[in-house]
Symmetry: C2
Subunit: 420 residues, 2 copies
Amino acid sequence: MRLADSFRSERFGAVRIHELQRVIELDSGAVHDTGQASLSAGSRVVPPDAMRAVESQMVIVVPCMNETRSVIEGVLSGIPHDCLIVLVSNSDRLPVDRYEIEAQTLEQFCRLAGRSAISIHQKDPGLAAAFKAAGMEELIGDDGLIRNGKGEAMLVGMAVAAMSGRRYLGYVDADNYVPGAVNEYCKAYAAGLHLADSPYSMVRISWHSKPKLRDGRLFFSRKGRSSQITNEWLNRFLAEYSGFGTEVIATGNAGEHAMSLDLGLRLRLAGGFAVEPYEYMDLFEQFGGVLESSDRDVMAGSVPILQIETRNPHFHDNKGEEHVQGMRMQALNVIYHSPVTLPSVRKAIVDFMVAQGALEPGQEPPKERVYPPVGSLDLELLYDGLDAEALTFRQFDGRASAGLPPSPPIARASIPRQKV
Amino acid sequence: MRLADSFRSERFGAVRIHELQRVIELDSGAVHDTGQASLSAGSRVVPPDAMRAVESQMVIVVPCMNETRSVIEGVLSGIPHDCLIVLVSNSDRLPVDRYEIEAQTLEQFCRLAGRSAISIHQKDPGLAAAFKAAGMEELIGDDGLIRNGKGEAMLVGMAVAAMSGRRYLGYVDADNYVPGAVNEYCKAYAAGLHLADSPYSMVRISWHSKPKLRDGRLFFSRKGRSSQITNEWLNRFLAEYSGFGTEVIATGNAGEHAMSLDLGLRLRLAGGFAVEPYEYMDLFEQFGGVLESSDRDVMAGSVPILQIETRNPHFHDNKGEEHVQGMRMQALNVIYHSPVTLPSVRKAIVDFMVAQGALEPGQEPPKERVYPPVGSLDLELLYDGLDAEALTFRQFDGRASAGLPPSPPIARASIPRQKV
């Protein structure tokens, strides 16, 4: 993959946010003239071997809710072979057990492609029991099951990813009509994580355009409705500290993003659709540090955030206006409630929300749920719970399906013991 | 890339048409357990090195007419780095010179990506003069310029490709909104040409689905309107010989297809939208041979046609009903007029066209224009003509743009002299 160079970045303590980089070539070939000439052209190639090195250490978590079999098959076909797939479903199980159809689709794909995967249903009582045993009761709702929500699905996926012992984690939404876009996301993760070259790193995707229906014809929108607002307020958060206006953050709501698990295990994930913007806030809270220049130099660049603009359109089902309004306000809630947000920004957020009719005058924005880091879990207990009690927990073993000695994606003996 | 195995094929003389094969994984990884296990799973992997070997010998011809800069940029970004790009434009030059914008876009892309390309405008008087000098006056219309039409653009592209000395040629339409689909087409060409393993081979694409607007919502149609009819009649052509009904041909109108240039230089291309279905007819005419079983064994499999169903939706601008009706009837015209089509099929075609209102009773379907093989051209004279007179003929040299010693894609001294 060839990416345009990123020349500018903004720092907040140890967090270094790189400006958006475009994808120039999806496939940049095998052999390249590297060095000065390549750099002076304003672009940078990540060669296939470097991509594979990341992919073979990467878990792709696919949160899934009621997608059709053919859409799921397409998404799976786009995930590079060397990545481990983890499907976290919150699909309906009645009147038709859609999870069973999903698990069958995944199993068939793994058999045909000789690869490995894991699947689990978010509302499996055994999953809730396992999380409780492993030390995260916060994730469990009044019904005794894991709470609904996208952030919750992502947290479950991260925990499963951590058990596999791999080093990287990427998220890909299941509602994507373009397998080539899924492939590009994964390639951009691999390229970005390679370039970031840090144990704590994150890659966030900004899609090139989003096809929408408008007056009976297709229109390629450049910006998402809620993204614009989320990015604007995250940038205002930064500008209020630096005194300089900025547009550096372009991926506040990025559903498609990846990170090193060393970083992921330290992050506190928020519930629902607050999860993506809250990642930024949690990075600022945990790694923002003191802003005196001596500290800045010590911490410089230690948590790089790369933002990559992909080439493919982001083409998915239209979830409607209510969903968007919800996402927008959840982002503002987390910015408002962060202890590192300056009072002037908090006041402006309240004014904005009142003007939007999303808040009564005099009220405070609601608090979003925030969970402890996945690194605080006892992963062996989690595994034992899943293995013993979670009936929807499936491991598909590509080696076994290819007639080779079995090697399930998670082996009890090699679950990392290290806690954050 | 991983493809489902093709178990069945139909032969017509030396032409062996393989049934449609699905793409299972866009990226099947670097290292694989090959042999028995892989085969028994019903799929086949083409490893990256084998793909690159084809790509580095492949020219991708992009016929282009009045597409926007951003659509063209997307298409270019999807073409694998090692392929040589040839843009053949028939875009408007007034009031705005769209060809100049296209050439600039291509030049910029080549500079940024350090790669090579060629561009030419179909209506360049110098191009017509060069074709005349090289021995193909048939391509020139009454105005003294190359005729309009897609087949004509493809012929020009093939001739340019032949001058480069590369071994393979693939076509990718410029009106594609999904760069990942373009990438998949090229990868499928490379995988298919590798698997075909014959000096005379062809790979034709059937797209997975086509998003269309219907009653204000999106609908993923599995089949194109004109493809259904073209395929039906091509299959009927075959069935009339064998006495067995067949549905093997699924790519009669495939705009996206690739072939070895050894094969391409022998083909007679038809004009306009007849070009794609006529490729089948010309294969039948040239390689159909006698159908006695002794001959069949001798010639067996010497011209494999692979058909690959890609994963990505084929998402392009809607050209309207007139375009489709034209394509459909041009396909029937070429089947009707082929000397190898049996009389019963010819009669049925006339009946069908009359019933469709496309033909008056008693009339004969019009004859489509068919050109001599590109292999009959004197390529050195063609190059000299282009070099001296064709003002729109541009060679973009990736090596020079990377600060290396120049090496234009076509070098006069290494133009193949061999004629068919």
